[in-house]
């Protein structure tokens, strides 16, 4: 009964890859939960399986075994198209290296997740302006991504992730490509979003960034070491 109250419940998941005929065990076995409104860091060395875990949490990568329950919904019992709808509604992704579409303006990039929803054009414009203001880029909506600094591009990536107001934000090394000062600003923004009610799950290899979260889950060799 208690478990069902968690926003995300990871039940004995594991992930194996085939690499040239050899089975590679990316995640041995993981069992943990994340509650609504938490800011959780997932920390581990490169190759520890943390990015694989994030993609499984985001409904992008079917685990080899185990279950992922989100709001009691068995994520991988859904069809691939249903999981796409789930991502649109529940998940905001903040990718490593920003991953903006280079030929779209800042505002168009931000509007992208709304393109497949029933949100009307006027409302899309309103929401885009609102999130641009929230990340402090009010007057840069018409620029192309390569006309912005790294920190600004990260803010656009965050704005795109939150424009549909998803309950869960998944951030993959959000400060990996930023200098210390800018990284601090981005972390402050994520902290603020968490305070505003968004559940944030962040993958990082930098222990300094974990200080911003409520909880850190350490991963090593595909095994979860709860903090």
């Amino acid at each position: 009964m208690q478990k069902n109250l968690h926003l995300i419940d990871i039940n004995a998941i594991g992930k194996d890859y085939m690499d040239g005929g050899t089975a590679v065990r990316a995640i041995r076995e993981m069992d943990f939960f994340i509650d609504d409104g938490e800011f959780v860091s997932i920390m581990g060395q490169s190759g520890s399986g943390k990015s694989t875990l994030l993609s499984i949490l985001g409904g992008l990568n079917q685990p080899s075994r185990g279950k992922v329950l989100v709001d009691t919904l068995d994520l991988y019992a859904l069809s691939s198209e249903q999981r796409a709808d789930f991502r649109s509604e529940y998940i905001g992704f903040i990718f490593q290296s920003f991953q903006l579409i280079p030929y779209l303006t800042v505002k168009e990039n931000i509007k992208l997740p709304m393109a497949i929803t029933s949100v009307k054009d006027r409302e899309q414009e309103h929401r885009a302006r609102s999130v641009l203001a929230k990340v402090g880029l009010d007057n840069k909506g018409d620029r192309l991504p390569d006309q912005l600094s790294g920190g600004e591009q990260e803010r656009v990536a965050i704005a795109r992730a939150i424009v549909n107001d998803p309950p869960i934000l998944l951030a993959d090394e959000p400060t990996g490509n930023l200098d210390t000062h800018t990284a601090g600003e981005v972390m402050a923004l994520l902290t603020q979003l968490n305070r505003d009610g968004q559940t944030v799950i962040m993958v990082t290899h930098n222990p300094a960034m974990c200080a911003h979260s409520n909880r850190t889950i350490h991963i090593k060799d595909g095994v979860c070491l709860e903090s």
């Binding site: 992008l60 990568n61 198209e81 796409a84 998940i91 990718f95």
Partner: protein, 368 residues
């Protein structure tokens, strides 16, 4: 994408240029055929065979002077395809003696005759009076006639007003005068030896028209001078088939180009497709994006290719055909070209779009 548009543009432009030139050539030749002389000849039916070949007559059988009644000619205008009839030029033929020499006389409605024989060149004034005569170049030489010379035919005085330049045809050897005057000279008033008919043959069934006329004149032999028309139309048809062949080849190459470019584009955009899928785009949405792009590329390629093709055809026609003129923009060809470009682009993009939609988001995102 710019290369894809360029590829389609060149492909469609090639097809449009070839087809526009073929159409213009076809129209040009049909127009020339319409302008140049008769294409149906009506003669009295003869039970005897002609014993002449290439202008050499071996005699033995004389031409039986069977004639039509001039009053019956109005029936020609009553055939089903009468709207395709152009000039009707009746003639009377018969021998006469001039300066002690036998010569063939031809009486014709001179206005119709001159309208039909646009290639006739002459010295002097065209005949105006009923007693004015046109003399063929060979006849003028043999009879020693010049412009202004008087001639007496069956006791009636005539004047030479026009000398024909050599044509290489039968008219080189004859004397031509006004129909009624010559009928009087030959004592064949109201009679006609033969009729030459010019039909506007663009799209008109010349063989059917021949049959229609023959039905009205059971005693006549109606012949379509089809050889020249057919030979010219065959060469046009050959060029048309060649154009279609090239068009098919261009379509095939164009499809391959679109396919390869779209596949390359999908491979290059794996990362982008991964982002789309991660933020909630369904497979159908990804397919929509690729196919929408293909449609826009097809539309731009088709429109610009049609414009370029027509421009090239317009510029090239005077070089391809002497004095040739552009037949004009064919809007249905435009519609077909644009639809073809879009269909080609969409079809060739179908597999790349399917591939893109089936990309595993986790694999696509591994490129991130």
């Amino acid at each position: 994408m710019i290369f894809l548009v360029m590829g389609l543009l060149i492909g469609i432009a090639t097809i449009v240029t070839l087809l526009a030139i073929t159409e213009s050539m076809s129209r040009d030749i049909e127009d020339r055929l319409d302008r140049f002389g008769a294409n149906i000849v009506m003669l009295p039916a003869s039970k005897n065979l002609a014993l002449s070949y290439g202008g050499i007559s071996v005699g033995g059988v004389n031409y039986q002077a069977v004639e039509f009644d001039q009053s019956e000619l109005a029936k020609i205008r009553t055939i089903k395809n009468s709207q395709n009839l152009g000039i009707i030029a009746p003639k009377i033929l018969g021998p006469a003696k001039v300066n002690e020499k036998d010569v063939l006389l031809m009486g014709a409605e001179l206005e119709s005759e001159l309208a039909l024989k646009t290639w006739w060149l002459f010295t002097g004034e065209p005949p105006v009076q009923p007693d004015d005569l046109i003399i063929g170049s060979e006849a003028a030489r043999a009879l020693g006639l010049r412009i202004g010379d008087p001639i007496e035919l069956a006791g009636r005085p005539f004047t030479v007003t026009t000398l024909l330049h050599p044509t290489g045809g039968p008219e080189d050897n004859i004397i031509i005068g006004e129909l009624s005057a010559i009928q009087g000279v030959l004592k064949k008033t109201g009679k006609i030896s033969m009729v030459e008919i010019a039909a506007f043959c663009r799209g008109c069934p010349i063989s059917e028209m021949t049959l229609q006329i023959a039905e009205k004149f059971p005693n006549a032999k109606v012949t379509a001078l089809k050889q020249a028309v057919m030979a010219k139309m065959q060469s046009i048809e050959l060029f048309r088939s060649f154009s279609y062949g090239i068009a098919v080849l261009v379509i095939f190459i164009g499809s391959l180009l679109v396919f390869v470019t779209m596949m390359g584009s999908v491979n290059e955009r794996t990362r982008e497709i991964g982002i789309f899928r991660a933020i909630g785009f369904r497979r159908g949405h990804v397919m929509q994006i690729i196919l929408l792009e293909a449609m826009v590329v097809g539309l731009i390629g088709g429109l610009s290719g049609f414009a370029l093709g027509n421009t090239i055809a317009w510029a090239a026609l005077p070089i391809v055909i002497k004095n040739g003129t552009f037949a004009g923009i064919n809007l249905s060809l435009g519609g077909v070209s644009i639809l073809l470009a879009i269909a080609l682009s969409l079809l060739a993009s179908l597999y790349p779009a399917l591939k893109a939609s089936k990309l595993d988001p986790s694999v696509a995102l591994r490129a991130l």
